[in-house]
Amino acid sequence: MTEQLDAGLVARRIAGSDQVGEPRDPAEGREVGRARRRREDARLITGRTRWTDNIQLPGMLHVAFLRSPMAHARLTRVDVSAALAMPGVVAAFSGRDFAGEQGSLPCAWPVSEDVVIPDHPPMAVDRVRYVGEAVACVVATDRYRAADALEAIEADYEPLEAVLDMTEALSDGAPAVHEAGNQAFTWRFSGGDADAAFHDAPVVLDRTYVQQRLIPTAMEPRAVVAVPEGEGFTLYSATQIPHILRVMLALTTGIPEHLLRVVAPDVGGGFGSKLQVTAEEVLGLLLARRLGRPVKWTESRSEGNLTAHHGRDQIQRISVAAERDGRIRGVRVDLLADMGAYLMLVTPGVPLLGAFMYSGVYKMDAYDFTCTGVFTTKVPTDAYRGAGRPEATFAIERAVDELAAELGLDPVEVRRRNWISREEFPYTTVAGLTYDSGDYEAATERALALFGYDELRAEQADRRERRDPVQLGIGVSTYTEMCGLAPSRVLGSLSYGAGGWEHAAVRLLPTGKVEVVTGTSPHGQGHETSWSQITADALGVPFEDVSVLHGDTAVSPRGMDTYGSRSLVVGGVAVLAACEKVKEKAKRLAAHLLEAADDDVEFADGTFRVRGTDQGRTIQELALAAFAAHDLPDGFEPRLDADATFDPENFSFPHGTHLCAVEADTETGRVAIRSYVAVDDVGRVVNPLIVEGQVRGGIAQGIGQALFEEAVHDTGGNLLTTTMADYLIPSAADLPDFVTDRTETPATSNPLGVKGVGEAGTIAATPAVVNAVVDALRPHGVRDVPMPCTPERVWRALARSRANDGGTR
C-alpha cells in the first residue's frame, strides 16, 4: 500500500530542490531575475489541489441548467413540474420564478454615448437569443439526478429568425436581436489627417481580414459553489476576478457587499474566459439563498463551449497608404465586432483595446479607426487572451507583409523603414499612446540570427525554383502591445467602469516570517513564486520565509484581479511599494532601538545598520520588537506591516519579433510549422522560467488561432464545435519546440521596470504564422488564407488562384 503523502514534507522536499537557478552573480544574492522553480507546484503535481469542483459540503445540492436549443425564439412556456417529481430533485425553476430578483448580468464598459446595453437576465424569461441560454434549472441531490431531471422539463419556443452574419445584421429589414436594433455602438477615433495621408498616396492597400470566433478553452471548466453562511454567503468560483465579482454580484443581486465573500480557489486557467460575471454565479447565489443550502454547478466541456463567452469574431477592413519606398503614410481601419447576443462584463471594450494598436511599432502621419459593435444570436464575445490587441496586431502585421510583397521588398526591411527607432523613445504614436521604451532593432537582430533568416530565404528560393510541392514560407511579426491594464484615469476616460490600480499588503509576523496579501488572482501565472521573489529582495528575507495570500475577499479584501497582463506590472509593483513602506517603519524602529538618527540608519541584506558601525538589527529582530512593543518610538503602532496600491501613469509596452517558418504541402494544403523563434522584450524579468512559460503558452494559443481553432455555427445558429473532438486545440504532437529569447529594455513607468508578458505570445504568433503560410503560397498567386488556415482552406486558396491564373502557374 502506498503511504499517505505528507504535503508539508513534499513542500519541503520541493523547496530543497529549488536551490537551483542561482543568480548569475551569487554574491549579488538577488531573487529578482532568478529562475526560481515554483512553489505552487507542490500541490499541483501531487493532486492536492483545490479546484472548485472538488468542494463537497454537507447537504450540498447540485444544479443543472436547461438550455435553449434555439438561437432565437420567443419562450412561450416553461413547465418544471414533471422535473419536480423526479427522484432526488429538490427544486426546479424557470426564469420567470427568478424574474423579480435575478437582475441583469452587468456590462461594466459602456463604451460610447450611443451604446445599447440590453437587459440580460441570467435565466431567460420570455425570449432566447442564443443556443445555450439558460431557460430553467433543477436542483437535485447529485449531479446525475440533476442531469436526468432536465429531460423532464417542458419548454415551448416560437422560433424567430437567427441573426448570424454581422453585415446582414446591419442591413435594413434584418430581424432584430433587440428592440433597439442590431447595432450595439459605434466608436470612432483618429489621429492626424487620414484624408491627406491617403490623397495621392503612391500605394494604397485595402485588405479585409476575418478574426474568427474562438473558444478560450481553459482546461478547467467553470464551476460555482454557493454557500449560505451566517448572515451572508460565500461563493466559490473558478474565476479570474474574485474582487470584481464580489462588487458586481452585490450590485446585481442586491445582497449587501459586506455579506458576500468570494473565493477563487485553485483555478485551472482563464485566458479571459473567467473574467466574467456569469449567469451561473448569480443564480448559484440566488438558489443558495432561496433553498438555504449549499449548491454546486460544474459545467461540462460541451456546456462550456456553448455558454462561456467566446473571443475575437471581428471583420477588419484595413487600408494602408504608403510611399513607393515602403514608408507608411497612414492607416484606416473599419471594424465590425460581433458582440453576440448581449453585452457582458467588458464585451464592447474588447475592440477598443485594439483601437490604439493598429499603428503597431510604426511611425505614420495619420490613423483613422471606426468600430461598430453588432448584436447577433450567438453567445456573447468578451475577453480572450490579448482581447483586441491580437486582432489589431494581426491586421497591421499582415498588411505590412502585403505591402512588402506589393513593393517587392523584404518584409523585415519594410518594417525597418517604418518602425520607431531605439533613439526615438519615448515616442508618442499616431494613436496617442506614449511608448516609454523599446528596442525593436535589437529584438529583430537577435531573432533573425536565431532563426537563420538568410539561410531559410535561400532554401525558400531553391524550393520555389524547383517547384517543390512542399513550399517554405517565412512569416514575420514585429509586435508591440499596450498592457498592464491600469492607469485608472485613462480607463475612466474610456468609460471603463472601474479603475486599474492594484493593492498589496505586507505583514511581518512576530517570528520574522512574511505574509504578502495581493489583489491579483493567479490561475497559473505563478504569483506566489514571483511575489515572494520581489518581497525577499525588498526585505532581505529568505524566499522560503514569504507566503502569498490571494483569491479570497475575506483574506485579500482589495484588488482588481488578473487579466490584461497586468498582475506583475501593477500588482507586483504594489507588493514592492508595500515592502518599501514596511522598510520605512522598520527603519524608524531600528533607529529608535539603536539610538541613532533615522538618516544614519541604512538597510542592506535584511539588516538595518548605523552607518559606519557594526551595530544593527535584522528585520526579523525588529518584527519581534514591534510585536513585543516594549520599547517603541512614540506613536509607533506595534506591527511591521503596510498596505500599498499602485496605479501607474501609463500602460506598459512589451514588444518583440517572432519569426515562423512553415512548410506548406501544396498538394494537400497541410501546413506544418518547421521552426519558430520568439525574441520578446518584456522589460525586466522577475522569473525567467515563468516568463518563458507564458511566452511559449501564448505562442501555442496564437498558433491555435492561425491553424486550428474556430467556433463554427450552422445556418440555424447551432454551435457545431461543442466538444474537443470538433474544436481542435493543438496537442504536443501538433507543435514544434519554440526557440525563445529576450532582450531587456526596462519599462520606465514602474520602479521594477517590468512590462507584462501574459498576452505577448498570443498577440505575436498569429500573424507570424499566417504571414508564413501566405509567404509559402505567394508564388502560386495566393494573397491571403482565412483563419484558421486549415488544409482545406489552403487548398481552396491555391485552387482559386490557379483558376484565376488560367492554370499557368
Partner: protein, 190 residues
C-alpha cells in the same frame, strides 16, 4: 445496484454504484480522490488519465463497473512518504505546468509512455502525449520534463545536469532540444 471492488492508490474499496457511474466520478465524488480532474466529455483532453491495471486510461471514458476488480493509481498515489515520483519532480523542475489542471493526466500518461520507451526522443514524447491537452505551456517544458523524468527513472533519482531552469535570456537561446541536451544548473541531490 452492482457492487464494485476497486483498489485506488493502494486502498481497497467496495462500493455500490449505478451502472452508469463514470470511474472518474467514483474517484472524485465517492472516494474523495479529487486529484484527478475532468476536462472534457469526449475523452480528448486526457486530464482524467489514471493507470488502470497498470496502463493509462481516461477515467471519464470508463464505467466504474468496468473497473470492477481493478487496480487504479492516480496522481495522488505516486508519491510515497514525502518522496515525489521522479516524474512529478521532473515536472516541477522543468516548469512543465502553469495552471496545473492537465498535470495529473499528463504525469500519468508520461509514466505510462516510459514503460515501452524508457528513453524517448522528443518526437516520441510528443506523439505519446497526443491524447493529453494543455492550454498553458505550449508543451515545450512538458516534453523536457518527460525526458528528464525518464532519465531519472532509469538512472536513479538524480537526473544529473538537466533542465533549463537557469536558462537566462541574455545567455543565448533558451529553447529547444535543437541546442542539444539542455544545460542548466544541476539539480541539488535530494
Amino acid at each position: 445496484m452492482p457492487e464494485v471492488t476497486v483498489t485506488v492508490d493502494g486502498v481497497a474499496y467496495e462500493e455500490e454504484v449505478e451502472p452508469r457511474l463514470l470511474l472518474v466520478h467514483l474517484l472524485r465524488d465517492r472516494l474523495g480522490r479529487t486529484g484527478t480532474p475532468i476536462g472534457c466529455d469526449t475523452g480528448n483532453c486526457g486530464s482524467c488519465t489514471v493507470l488502470l491495471d497498470g496502463r493509462s486510461a481516461k477515467s471519464c471514458s470508463v464505467l466504474a463497473v468496468q473497473a470492477d476488480g481493478s487496480d487504479v493509481v492516480t496522481v495522488e498515489g505516486l508519491a510515497s512518504g514525502g518522496d515525489l515520483h521522479p516524474m512529478q519532480r521532473a515536472f516541477h523542475e522543468e516548469h512543465a505546468l502553469q495552471c496545473g489542471y492537465c498535470t495529473p493526466g499528463m504525469i500519468m500518461a508520461a509514466i505510462d509512455l516510459l514503460r515501452d520507451d524508457p528513453d524517448p526522443s522528443e518526437e516520441a514524447v510528443r506523439r505519446g502525449l497526443e491524447g493529453n491537452l494543455c492550454r498553458c505551456t505550449g508543451y515545450c517544458t512538458i516534453v523536457r520534463a518527460v525526458r528528464r523524468g525518464a532519465r531519472a527513472m532509469s538512472g536513479g533519482r538524480d537526473a544529473g545536469p538537466g533542465g533549463e531552469a537557469g536558462g537566462e535570456a541574455a545567455g543565448g537561446p533558451a529553447g529547444g532540444e535543437a541546442a542539444g541536451e539542455p544545460a542548466g544548473e544541476g539539480v541539488a541531490a535530494p
